[in-house]
Each structure stands twice: as structure tokens, then as C-alpha cells.
């Protein structure tokens, strides 16, 4: 598989096919990132598209000597911040709400579905309640496999801050999960 940095070099040289490969490769991770960040379902696709276009617009700012993935998620972070700033104004509704409600989830075994679904739902709610920066840190490390250094680069913060945020996020998630489990048991 062609390296992302090499693809970026080709994108900068104006090669259309490199851009298509890069977009096709990264649309799903960026989509999943916005989805887990708590983006409204109807806007996830639009934000993903926006991030990909911004990737192109900022192509000359990419430093090939540095890893691509943190740079990409740094762009996604900018798009997310911009979205939060203009939350009142909808970026666009190319995917309608009803359509998103019908978005299929990957297959989960029927027997495990209820139990797994409950825990996942608790986790989702707990992640939603995390402070913004802690949520981003957790998602980038856990779901996108970025190292602490890469998370620090993507979020533009020192390494120590990333460690602290991740520890704090995990602690909060664990507390929230335990509290909601107890709540469920007492009902």
C-alpha cells in the first residue's frame, strides 16, 4: 500500500488519483471520529467531507517529515471546532435524519447483542459527558491508534497534557460506567 506521505506528495503535485486514494482511505476513520465525538448523525457526513476538502486546501502546509495521521486528525479537530462555533447554523443536510436513523451497524451476534449493547450505550453516554479535549484524546488513542506523541501533535498540546487528559478521561469513564451499572441494578 502506498504510504500516506507519498500520496500527499503526489496530491501536492496535482495528481488526481492520489487524492482519490487518500480520501477513500481516510473517509471512514474521520467519519468514525466525528461520530464518536458526538456529532449529530445528520452532520457527520458533511463534517467528514469538510475535513477531506480542508486536507486538500492545506496540502502545502503538510510536512512530509512528520507523521500524516496526527496532521489529518489535527485538521479534523479544526473542522469540529468550527462546527461547534457555528452549531446554530447547519453546515448542510446532505444526509437526512431519517436516513441516518436507518444507518446499518456492523453485525453483532444476536445473543450478545442485548448485553453488549447495554454496556456500549453506557459507555457512549459517558464519553459524551467527557470534557471536549479529554474526549478527543481518548478517541484518538483508543480508536485511531495514535501514540501519546501523535495525539499531542494532533491536538497541539504537550505530551504531559495528553497523558493527564487520557488518565482523567479513563477515570471518569470508569466512574460513570460503575455509577450507571449500579443505577441499573437498583432499578
Amino acid at each position: 500500500m502506498t504510504d500516506d506521505a507519498e500520496l500527499m506528495a503526489r496530491v501536492r503535485a496535482g495528481e488526481q488519483s492520489a487524492l482519490e486514494i487518500l480520501f477513500a482511505r481516510w473517509e471512514a476513520p474521520v467519519f468514525a471520529y466525528f461520530y464518536r465525538l458526538g456529532c449529530p448523525p445528520w452532520a457527520v457526513g458533511d463534517l467528514t467531507e469538510e475535513a477531506l476538502v480542508l486536507l486538500y486546501r492545506r496540502r502545502h502546509r503538510y510536512d512530509p517529515a512528520r507523521p500524516f495521521v496526527p496532521w489529518l486528525f489535527g485538521i479534523a479537530r479544526l473542522v469540529w471546532k468550527e462546527y461547534l462555533r457555528h452549531r446554530g447554523r447547519e453546515i448542510g443536510r446532505t444526509v437526512q435524519i431519517e436516513e441516518v436513523e436507518r444507518l446499518p451497524s456492523p453485525d453483532v451476534g444476536a445473543a450478545d447483542a442485548a448485553e453488549a449493547g447495554e454496556a456500549v450505550e453506557r459507555l457512549r453516554r459517558a464519553v459524551d459527558r467527557l470534557p471536549e479535549e479529554q474526549r478527543m484524546t481518548f478517541l484518538l488513542r483508543h480508536y485511531h491508534g495514535l501514540s501519546y506523541e501523535e495525539v499531542a501533535e494532533a491536538l497541539g498540546v504537550p505530551l504531559g497534557t495528553v497523558k493527564w487528559r487520557l488518565h482523567e478521561a479513563v477515570r471518569r469513564l470508569r466512574d460513570a460506567m460503575a455509577a450507571s451499572r449500579k443505577e441499573g441494578e437498583t432499578r
Binding site: 457526513g45 444526509v95 446499518p104 456492523p106 456500549v120 483508543h142 487520557l166 469513564l173 470508569r174
Partner: protein
């Protein structure tokens, strides 16, 4: 190792961010500490639930839409004109040459007692205006307007020796056989100024306006504005020696004439051309 230290490292252990020494220290602690093992199990349960939180299946078309948007941006980037330094220099020289010719034409129609400083200043302003508007022709958005304004002002300047302001004043005075200023003389000067400006502006704006004009008002406003700006030095050189009561109706006539000519040309130009075709 204390329990607090061990627990703070548990997260790093799961994310494989511990050095070998720290990892073995932590594992040794976990073997002896039931409380920390319980903490590890809780963390395992949490991260296992996190692993099961999958994103929805990606709806189709996102990357394709992004590629299409980039294609549009690329097309715009290609269409965006780049003005090289030699272009700028060429327009500066052309502007200076046009200003020199204009000064000769208008100067021959103006007042011979004008001071060289005033003439030089007017020439420098004129050269800058000509060069700047000439440079605008390099931008597709302004090309028609800039070209039209240059043509119109060219006609006006060519008309200056035969229809100069002092000669118009004299002609009006003789025709009316009246005093220095009167309502009728002012009206005649206003009318002469209107005709002087409106005719070239109408001809050039009609000639350069496309078959499908953009919003009428914006086009006409730009056209008339640039034309009056370009004509400014000529008006100054012809009128500065006259009294305000004589110069004002002429200048007002030029302003009104340029607006009328511009609206007329932008409005009627495409129709006249399609009727002729």
C-alpha cells in the same frame, strides 16, 4: 511501588506506552496486590466495552463529493489570473504613454498658462489610473468593464480638442449673447457635459457588455465610476481656470451623462446587437 503509582500506570500499560522497566515493576506489583488487580479488571471491562462501540457503516459518496469539490476548486485555481511583474511594468509604461498623449490632446484644448507642476501632477495621476485600469483587464471579472471605460475615456479625450470646455463655454456665450453666468447658460453647459460624457460611455458600454449581462445596476455603477475617475484629470485641466459657476454645470453634466450612458449602454447594448444580428 505504591498502589497510586501502579494505578496511574495501568492506562499506559493497556496502551503499551510503558518502558520495559516500568512494565515489569507494575506487573510485579499486580501479582502481590489484589486491590490493583481489581482495578485492572475494571479497566479491562471498560476498554472491552469501548472496543465494542463501533461506528455506523459509512454512507456512500462522501469521498466522491469531496473529490468533486476539490475539482471545482482546482478549476478556479487554474482560472485565477496571475499578474507577472513584466505585465505590471508593461501597463505602467502603457499608462504613462497614454497619459502623455492625453496631456497633449487636452493641453492643446486647455489653458496655455497652466503651471508645469500642475500638468505634471495631473499626468502622474493619469498614468497611474490608466495603468491600474489597464491591469484590471487581466482579471476576467473586470475585463469588460475596464476595457469599456478605457475605450470611453479614449473617445472623450480625442474629442477634447474639438469640444473642449473653454470652447464650449465660449460657444454657449456667443450663442446666448448673455452674461458670465445665467440659468440658461448653466443649462446649456450641463447639457453639453451630459452629451460629451454619455455618447462615448454609451457606445463603449454597449460594445463590451456581454449577451447575458450580469446584474445591471452593479455593471453600470462600476462602468460609470471608472469612467469618471479616468476622465478626472482631463476635467481638472480644462476647468480649473474657469469660475466655479461655469465649471460646476459642465462637471455635473459629465457625471449625469456617464451614468445615463452607462445604464443605457449596459441595458440596450445586448438588445441592439441581437437585433442587428
Amino acid at each position: 511501588m505504591t498502589c497510586a503509582g501502579a494505578q496511574s500506570w495501568l492506562v499506559d500499560l493497556f496502551y503499551e506506552e510503558l518502558g520495559s522497566e516500568e512494565r515489569s515493576g507494575l506487573q510485579a506489583h499486580l501479582e502481590t496486590c489484589g486491590h490493583c488487580r481489581e482495578e485492572r479488571r475494571a479497566l479491562e471491562a471498560l476498554l472491552s466495552a469501548a472496543d465494542r462501540w463501533t461506528a455506523p457503516v459509512l454512507p456512500g459518496g462522501i469521498a466522491e463529493r469531496a473529490v468533486a469539490r476539490v475539482a471545482v476548486e482546482r478549476a478556479r485555481e487554474v482560472a485565477k489570473p496571475t499578474v507577472a511583474l513584466q505585465h505590471v511594468l508593461a501597463f505602467v509604461l502603457a499608462g504613462a504613454a497614454a497619459a502623455a498623449v492625453s496631456l497633449v490632446l487636452v493641453g492643446s484644448a486647455g489653458h496655455p498658462e497652466e503651471s508645469p507642476l500642475k500638468v505634471g501632477l495631473a499626468g502622474a495621476i493619469w498614468a497611474t489610473l490608466y495603468g491600474g485600469v489597464g491591469l484590471l483587464t487581466q482579471f476576467p471579472k473586470y475585463r469588460r468593464m475596464a476595457l469599456g471605460a478605457l475605450i470611453a475615456v479614449g473617445i472623450s479625450v480625442l474629442l477634447a480638442p474639438v469640444l473642449s470646455m473653454p470652447s464650449v463655454v465660449e460657444a454657449c456665450r456667443r450663442w446666448l449673447e448673455t452674461a458670465q453666468a445665467s440659468v440658461v447658460l448653466n443649462a446649456a453647459l450641463f447639457l453639453a457635459g451630459t452629451l460629451y460624457a454619455s455618447a462615448p460611455v454609451f457606445v463603449s458600454s454597449a460594445a463590451v457588455t456581454g449577451a447575458r449581462p450580469r446584474p445591471l445596476l452593479a455593471d453600470a455603477v462600476r462602468f460609470a465610476g471608472v469612467y469618471t475617475l479616468l476622465l478626472g484629470p482631463s476635467v481638472y485641466l480644462q476647468c480649473h481656470a474657469l469660475t466655479l459657476s461655469l465649471a460646476a454645470p459642465w462637471v455635473a453634466g459629465i457625471l449625469v451623462g456617464s451614468w445615463l450612458g452607462s445604464f443605457g449602454g449596459v441595458c440596450l447594448g445586448p438588445r441592439l446587437r441581437s437585433a442587428a444580428a
